[in-house]
């Protein structure tokens, strides 16, 4: 019988070597939350053409159990501008939607919901 985290990790890392994992610090203003065993999606280099100006982004998704995201005792959902730091790597990402979509997506079964949060790397 696998644990919730094991099932989530297996689902998120389907495809093998394209994902890594570790602890992240999730921040919204002064609220901070450490989430262990988050899965880091592959970094994707995106180029958008804004009317002749090429804007280059490094995108990355983070996946963790939805129930891990508790601020001030309440379940929370990701918001535009939240920040995610990969602990031990000093890489900071900002929660932003890809192409106007929602900034996160929940997948899985009720009670075992995994949350995929879309981010872009901060300089």
């Amino acid at each position: 019988m696998s644990t919730l985290m094991e099932r989530g990790l297996a689902m998120a890392t389907r495809g093998g070597s394209r994902a890594a994992g570790g602890s992240i610090l999730y921040e919204r203003g002064d609220n901070r939350l450490t989430i262990d065993e988050a899965v880091f999606g592959q970094t994707a280099f995106q180029v958008e053409d804004a009317g002749g100006i090429r804007v280059e982004h490094s995108d990355r998704d983070f996946i963790f159990p939805a129930i891990a995201m508790i601020f001030a005792g309440s379940l929370a959902t990701p918001q535009r501008g939240d920040r995610v730091t990969i602990i031990g790597h000093d890489e900071v990402y900002e929660v932003l939607a890809p192409g106007g979509a929602q900034v996160y997506r929940d997948t899985g079964m009720p009670g075992a919901m995994m949350r995929r949060v879309h981010t872009k790397k901060l300089p």
Binding site: G29, E48, A50, G51, G52, I53, R54, V55, E56, H57, S58, Q79, R80, G81, E94, L96, A97, P98, G99, G100, K120, K121, L122, P123
Partner: protein, 147 residues
């Protein structure tokens, strides 16, 4: 023989880099402006020759209308709640740029800036999806080119 649009664009770069502005920014002339949001937290300035329109002026010269785009770009760094103030400061920077160009003569006084136009939010999608502020000032120059 020189290329008038490049001569004017290079003169614009020199003038902007010599100006005292409220935020540190170094301008460079490029053909394709690129902005890497993951590697730079500072303001980036790009100068791009846009068009060169010629009409007959005199027996010896054509009148040339040259447009130069000045792109000002920044990956917003403040918290979302403070991004309006951060963008306000960038528009102030643009207001400082305009008088450096407008009504001024460039390229050994052979070209004069006769006006500017600004597309204040160049890309709404980039502000929303990437927290990237992009604005473009088009500076219009008049000069003559010997035929």
């Amino acid at each position: 023989m020189s290329v008038p649009s490049l001569t004017v664009a290079d003169a614009v770069v020199t003038a902007l880099n010599a100006a005292t502005l409220s935020q540190s920014v170094t301008f460079e002339r490029v053909y394709v402006p690129k902005f890497d949001t993951a590697s730079s937290a500072s303001v980036q300035g790009k100068v791009v020759p846009k068009f060169d329109n010629r009409e007959m002026g005199s027996a010896a010269d054509d009148n040339a209308a040259i447009a130069i785009d000045i792109g000002v770009m920044k990956r917003l760094q403040n918290a979302v709640a403070d991004e309006k103030a951060e963008m306000d400061a960038l528009l102030l920077l643009c207001e400082e740029i305009k008088p450096v160009l407008n009504r001024k003569r460039f390229a050994d006084d052979t070209a004069i800036c006769v006006g500017t136009a600004q597309e204040i939010i160049y890309s709404v999608e980039d502000v929303d999806n990437g927290r990237v502020f992009l604005t473009a000032i088009t500076a219009n120059f008049q000069t003559t080119v010997a035929v």
